[in-house]
């Protein structure tokens, strides 16, 4: 057997055999496989029953495909401009690239591997068989093509990132050209949206649906081609199928030619991203902070040099301030604040004419709190707890925990003022209610900081992302539930003129809960073990 075939087959065999040592994972995979197989069986059994007249608007599927495609294109173009993408991993670099095997064969191996992984990553679509069948009356053909489309988007976007990296690496003018093309394409979408809305006088959702199902959008790289392919298969339109497949193939062929042209020297082009992703995976596995992949170079300015203030535990807080200052001149106002302000502003603008806009504003609050949860539990405090310094500083545990949390407590206060300030300004909604929204947002931040401390105190470390999602859901119901309930009661009993006070019970209970967590777990540093790095193992 040739080396590459041996490598591929042995890895697959060992991956399957390793499941013997992980019964939990084996059960999970078995259940997931059963769900997929069961869904197929049910689909075959009920294949005669159609529901065409009740089917939902198919353009919603176009919208989902487009949204995914646009997100992938933007993300992978950005990756291509920084580190590039990779079809390989570090063992390939150390063992395969230096071996006497043709680089074209190695590229083919990398492509096949990536395609395989993309197909596996696309399996989740089959879990939607029931929903897709009920909502859109789709059969096997449509669901299978969605599966293929998702995998094709992943593979072609990875190729796109590599192509962009090869084209633009070390050449600022080419980088600017790629950026200009990308921004032009996305700006064209915004213009098309405005034109459709102006000409056809349609609402937000309807305009977007008309845009993604238009003939012009079908030629937008990856996202549009995917919509065209799906429409072609779903409606038996061979011309659309052929055009979209040809466009995908042309893009893939151009990038592969770029990769293999001349001396077929693509090793360097994939090296940076391979090393970066290896370091990220390694750091994640060892429980260390994931290295920043952001290529933005932070310039150390003279006016932001040195910590300057703070002694003992408070040195941690001033260090955090300096770190914030290095990332953003406005310290606590960063990209997230701006993003949330824009989102809140848009929501305020679109919902201001609704009959009960405050319900939409509660939606904005809930969404902002949801994002904030992840931002806080992965924030400064968590990072500090994974480093040894906080354990070594000669100060009381409570002071150290508080100092390490302080910047995470202040940021939601600042963000809340800006997010709900914009909401009030754009929507014209009453200012006191927006101020109480901001307070509720800040109070949620305090609870989440408390929860980070709780994780470390109870679990002796920070849980993984999946566990965080589950714990997060539990927290929403267990902790925030009792805080939300009095607010709902208040909303029912209070007269309209006092309804702006609705979020107050929620805020008060959240702050009390946060204080309780700080007091109960303030001895964290004295009681828990340092688990941040493998350095002491």
């Amino acid at each position: 057997m040739k080396a590459l075939a041996y490598l591929t087959l042995t890895q697959i065999k060992n991956r399957i055999l390793s499941l013997k040592k992980k019964p939990g994972l084996l059960i999970l995979y078995s259940v997931l496989t059963l769900i997929v197989v069961g869904s197929f069986v049910l689909m075959i059994i009920f294949s005669g029953e159609t529901n065409a007249e009740k089917a939902a608007d198919e353009r919603i599927i176009y919208l989902i495909i487009s949204a995914l495609g646009l997100l992938f294109v933007y993300t992978f173009v950005t990756t291509g401009l920084s580190t590039g993408s990779s079809l390989f991993n570090m063992p390939d670099v150390g063992l395969l690239f230096v071996a006497p095997i043709s680089s074209k064969k190695i590229l083919f191996y990398g492509l096949l591997n990536t395609m395989g992984k993309s197909l596996l990553a696309s399996v989740f679509i089959f879990y939607q068989i029931g929903n897709l069948r009920n909502a859109f009356d789709y059969g096997f053909k449509e669901i299978f093509i969605l599966f293929i489309i998702y995998a094709s988007m992943l593979v072609s976007c990875q190729l796109l990132a590599i192509g962009i990296y090869i084209f633009s690496n070390g050449n600022p003018s080419r980088k600017n050209l790629v950026k200009a093309i990308t921004y032009t394409l996305y700006a064209a979408l915004v213009i098309a949206y405005l034109v459709i809305q102006r000409q056809q006088q349609t609402g937000l959702l309807e305009t977007i649906l008309r845009l993604v199902s238009s003939e012009g959008f079908a030629y937008f790289p990856v996202a549009g081609w995917s919509v065209m392919l799906f429409a072609g298969v779903a409606h038996n339109l061979p011309v659309k199928i052929i055009i979209s497949v040809v466009l995908f193939l042309i893009m893939g062929a151009v990038i592969i030619i770029l990769l293999t042209s001349g001396k077929a020297d693509y090793y360097e082009s994939v090296l940076v991203s391979t090393e970066t992703s290896y370091q990220i995976r390694k750091a994640a596995r060892e429980g260390r902070n994931v290295p920043q992949t952001n290529s933005k170079k932070i310039k150390v300015r003279d006016n932001a040099f040195g910590i300057g203030k703070g002694s003992r535990a408070m040195a941690i807080f001033y260090k955090h301030l300096l770190e914030h200052k290095r990332k953003s001149r406005l310290i606590f106002i960063d990209g997230y604040t701006v993003f949330m302000m824009i989102a809140a502003g848009m929501a305020g603008y679109y919902f201001r004419t609704y009959a009960l806009p405050e319900f939409a504003y509660y939606g904005v609050l809930a969404t902002a709190v949801y994002f904030q949860y992840f931002l806080t539990v992965m924030g400064k405090l968590k990072q500090e707890l994974t480093k040894p310094y906080i354990y070594l500083i000669p100060d009381s545990s409570l002071r150290k925990v508080f100092a390490a949390s302080l910047s995470s407590l202040i940021k939601p206060c600042v963000d809340g003022c800006f997010i709900f300030g914009i909401l009030a300004a754009v929507s014209g909604h009453n200012l006191p209610e927006c101020a109480f929204f901001a307070l509720a947002y800040a109070a949620s931040g305090a609870v989440f900081v408390g929860l980070t401390i709780l994780y470390q105190r109870v679990l002796g470390g920070q849980p993984g992302t999946v566990l965080k999602v589950f714990i997060g859901m539990g927290l929403f119901s267990l902790v925030l539930g009792p805080a939300i309930a009095p607010s709902i009661v208040l909303a029912i009993i209070l007269p309209d003129s006092l309804r702006f006070l609705c979020t107050l019970p929620y805020s008060v209970i959240s702050i009390l809960f946060a204080v309780l967590l700080f007091v109960a777990c303030g001895n964290l540093i004295d009681k828990s073990e340092y688990t941040g790095s493998a350095a002491f193992k």
Binding site: L7, R15, V98, P100, I101, N169, D265, E268
Partner: protein, 251 residues
């Protein structure tokens, strides 16, 4: 023999290697010395065929990216990265297949034995400690019996027994006629067996000495190394050096 001629490597505007030239002959152990950021690992990666560069690198007369050159080159990277889903023995088998080796099993057994890995043959890559990974990486690099061997910081992470064994192997390979290039910033670790030393600063070779030179002149390599690096630092702080030194991590 390894021939490096006028090798220049740029990362964007940053010059990582600037017209580097040297030779390592069969039966010679050559070392690349230099502080962090000097461009040592970049040069090693260029020689291993992982990076593009301008200039010329020949492995026994073959252009370094040719298949013939790869057959005769062994590379032990700074960061060991085994395949997670391949056992120790399967790594050996993979290398044997990739390099079309015959009668490799006995050699593989012997190598694993020397590095005390013979009882770990059925361990998967992801079950190995960092030191074990480094040992496996060395075994993989040496199994094809290369004529030119590149070591990038090979002693890092090894236990005393493995360091002793690796030093023995390096000397054996030298006696067998291999050209060996070792990149390191720890002079002590290679002090006893180097034949020629290239001191790198800011992507260039600032000095080259053979053991015979230093023995006859009485020059101390460590003192020379510090003299060069300190003078480079003072030049940089005086702003006399035109170009920026390579960033940390480039190596």
């Amino acid at each position: 023999m390894l021939l490096v001629q006028e090798v220049t490597k740029k990362y964007g505007k940053v010059l990582a290697n600037d017209g580097v030239s040297f030779e390592t002959h069969p039966g010679e152990i050559s070392i690349l010395l230099g502080p962090n950021g000097a461009g040592k690992s970049t040069l090693i990666k260029c020689i291993a065929g992982l990076l593009k560069f301008s200039g010329r690198i020949l492995i026994n007369g073959n252009e370094n990216k040719s298949l013939q050159a790869k057959r005769e080159l062994g590379y032990i990277p700074e960061i060991p990265a085994p395949y997670e889903m391949l056992t120790v023995w399967e790594h050996m088998e993979f290398i044997a297949r990739a390099y079309s080796l015959e009668n490799w099993k006995e050699k593989a057994e012997h190598l694993l034995q020397r590095f005390e890995m013979d009882d770990k043959k059925k361990k998967l890559g992801n079950e190995l400690s960092k030191g074990m990974q480094q040992k496996l990486s060395i075994c993989c690099g040496l199994l094809p019996e290369p004529k030119v061997i590149l070591f990038d910081e090979p002693m890092v992470g090894l236990d005393p027994h493995a360091i002793k064994e690796l030093k023995k192997i390096i000397l054996e390979k030298k006696d067998e006629g291999a050209a060996i290039l070792i990149s390191t910033h720890m002079l002590d670790s290679v002090d006893e067996f180097w034949d020629s030393a290239n001191i790198m600063i800011g992507g260039r070779i600032a000095a080259r000495r053979s053991r015979r030179d230093t023995a006859s002149s009485g020059e101390d390599l460590e003192a020379l190394f510090f003299a060069i690096t300190e003078s480079s630092k003072s030049k940089s702080s005086d702003g006399q050096e035109g170009k920026d030194s390579s960033p940390e991590g480039m190596n």
